[in-house]
């Protein structure tokens, strides 16, 4: 049931500030069905904030967001969200299965019939290969297992748009590749668009259809082969940047960009912005 590349969401002239600091100006992008969009940029460039804008949780913005799926509930597309990794406390009374279930019915009040839900939860658990540990307390699972369950939670209600905030962080390389492949597969099957914030382009490089690069209050939005050019990135950063291709991997060298490190630890300051308002 792959949908044609029709738009899901359009951003018109969106400008965002945190306090007096400008994140980016006049962002003007259209996100279509089936697109896999990597969001790159240095710390503090507003990658997480962009996801918050789309979630309608960012207070200091101007511009317009147009949701194109008006047939859906509330005139918004269904959105799945994998937040920045924050491990669960071991004492939380919640199994992995419960977490995934919340993605399906967690926003519904009162009593509901859960039979159909159980089936859908089982399906996604199988699909994401987490059925084996789904009945253990979520807080006792490893970071990678928790992250896989979060991904399952974000997909269980078949959203049109998946917002992923550094989902690969702290995973080992095989798990990174595996999770990235599964998110891509979901997008291919359902026609959902994926917005993928990352410091590490290489695990998702084979899937990326477009790149949104944020830096210095500016932005670039284009196909990866047009963005990953020394000349283009140097202009965006305003300093010398080299893009080196090495056995299907990209190395971006120079400037102060962490995306060139293969295991960059992310300390974003805009990460918890939504909590404070």
């Amino acid at each position: 049931m792959r949908k044609l590349p029709t738009p899901i969401i359009k951003l018109h002239n969106v400008t965002c500030n945190i306090g007096k600091r400008l994140l980016w100006e006049n962002l003007d992008i259209t996100i279509n069905h089936g697109e896999f969009i990597a969001i790159l940029g240095p710390n503090g460039s507003g990658k997480t904030s962009l996801l918050k804008v789309i979630l309608d949780q960012f207070p200091e913005m101007s511009g317009e967001i147009e949701y194109c799926e008006e047939n859906r509930v509330l005139g918004k597309p269904l959105i799945g969200y994998i937040p920045q990794q924050k491990p669960f406390d071991p004492t939380v009374p919640l199994t992995g299965r419960d977490l995934v279930n919340l993605g399906l019915s967690g926003n519904r009040y009162g009593f509901i019939k859960s039979q159909i839900n159980n089936e859908r939860v089982n399906q996604i658990l199988e699909r994401m290969n987490c059925a084996d540990y789904a009945d253990k307390p979520i807080g006792t699972l490893s970071g990678g297992e928790q992250q896989r369950l979060r991904a399952a939670q974000s997909m269980v209600n078949q959203p049109d748009l998946l917002l992923c905030d550094e989902p690969l962080l702290s995973l080992d390389i095989p798990s990174q590749q595996n999770l990235a492949a599964q998110i891509h597969e979901y997008s291919q099957e359902t026609g959902a668009a994926v917005l993928f914030v990352t410091h590490e382009i290489n695990p998702i490089l084979p899937y990326v259809s477009k790149v949104l690069y944020l830096a210095n209050g500016k932005w670039l939005f284009d196909k990866p082969e047009k963005i990953f050019k020394s000349r283009v990135l140097s202009k965006l950063y305003g300093s010398k940047i080299e893009v080196i291709e090495l056995n299907d991997r990209l190395l971006i060298v120079g400037g102060e960009d962490e995306s060139l490190t293969t295991h960059g630890h992310h300390h974003s300051h805009e990460g918890n912005f939504g909590d404070e308002h």
Binding site: L55, Q57, L74, I79, Y81, P83, K86, F88, T91, V92, P93, L94, T95, D98, L99, L102, G103, S105, G106, N107, R108, Y109, G110, F111, I112, K136, P137, T140, R150, Q153, S154, L163, G274, D275
Partner: protein, 269 residues
């Protein structure tokens, strides 16, 4: 008197009914208190309910109404100022110490018989009146109804607030709603076990339940059962003993249940 003779006395029946009502409400909210890290908030609310009780006694001869008003004010303050756990706990700590002092000061101005206010500190289950039973019944019913309605979104907002917000759940509204339910429940429990021992019904049962299950529904059911065993068991034990205050036995049984669950705890959970 033996237990059977006690059970023909209205004061004992009132006490048992009150204990059942309070235990249901406490057991129901306890898992969320645990998930949200609100144990200290419970303690703060209940101690400041004492201040409210003293104020209520002094101004209107009504310590119970004063306690509820005090608890609701505290819940509002926690909701407004305490979004982060650390901030919340230091705010409560500061207010708690001051508020308790004010309560004792207010009580020293009261010329009448002050046992009604000190009863809030240590509980007075055998002094529960008819209208108190109605009040406790109404509050318990309200807590059950609202919790049944909001359980799933509240669970979501408690364990995973960021994603819950992304799913359109009004996390802040639920925070406030829960704090108000908590303040009503805590003040009700204070009438049974006293403000000093409220934690034995609003925190301990959930922590014990969590030791033997990780499923939210199962934990809630165990938590209610444990609260019921503790409160009703404490009353029977107190009647049997003749001279030990029920609140002490309630907290004792609650702690015993925790110890047993802790021994049964395995890595599986």
């Amino acid at each position: 008197m033996n237990i059977n003779q006690y059970l023909s006395q209205p004061f004992a029946i009132h006490g048992i009914v009150a204990a059942i009502l309070v235990a249901i409400a406490c057991g129901l909210i306890a898992p969320f208190v645990m998930m949200r890290g609100l144990a200290f908030a419970v303690h703060g609310t209940s101690e400041l309910a004492f201040t409210g009780a003293a104020a209520g006694l002094l101004t209107a001869q009504n310590p119970i109404l004063g306690a509820y008003v005090g608890a609701v004010i505290v819940a509002t303050l926690i909701g407004v100022f305490g979004n982060k756990e650390k901030e919340r706990d230091s705010t409560i700590g500061v207010t708690l110490a001051f508020g308790l002092g004010v309560g004792v000061l207010l009580l020293s101005y009261y010329k009448g018989f002050a046992s009604s206010a000190t009863n809030i500190l240590f509980g007075n289950i055998f002094g529960v009146t008819n209208w108190q039973i109605w009040l406790l019944g109404a509050i318990t019913l309200l807590v059950i109804l609202i919790m049944a309605l909001i359980q799933r979104p509240l669970l979501f907002a408690s364990v995973d607030p960021e994603v819950a917000r992304a799913k359109g759940i009004k996390v802040k509204v639920l925070n406030f709603l829960f704090l108000y339910l908590l303040s009503l429940t805590v003040t009700s429990a204070a009438q049974v076990v006293g403000t000093l021992l409220v934690l034995s019904l609003t925190v301990t049962p959930a922590i014990a339940a969590r030791k033997i299950s990780a499923k939210p529904v199962t934990v809630t059911i165990y938590s209610i059962i444990f609260a019921l065993i503790s409160s009703v068991g404490g009353i029977f034990a107190s009647l049997e003993s003749g001279n030990i205050r029920p609140s002490i036995l309630v907290s004792g049984i609650s702690f015993l249940i925790f110890l047993i669950c802790n021994a049964l705890h395995s890595k599986q959970y």
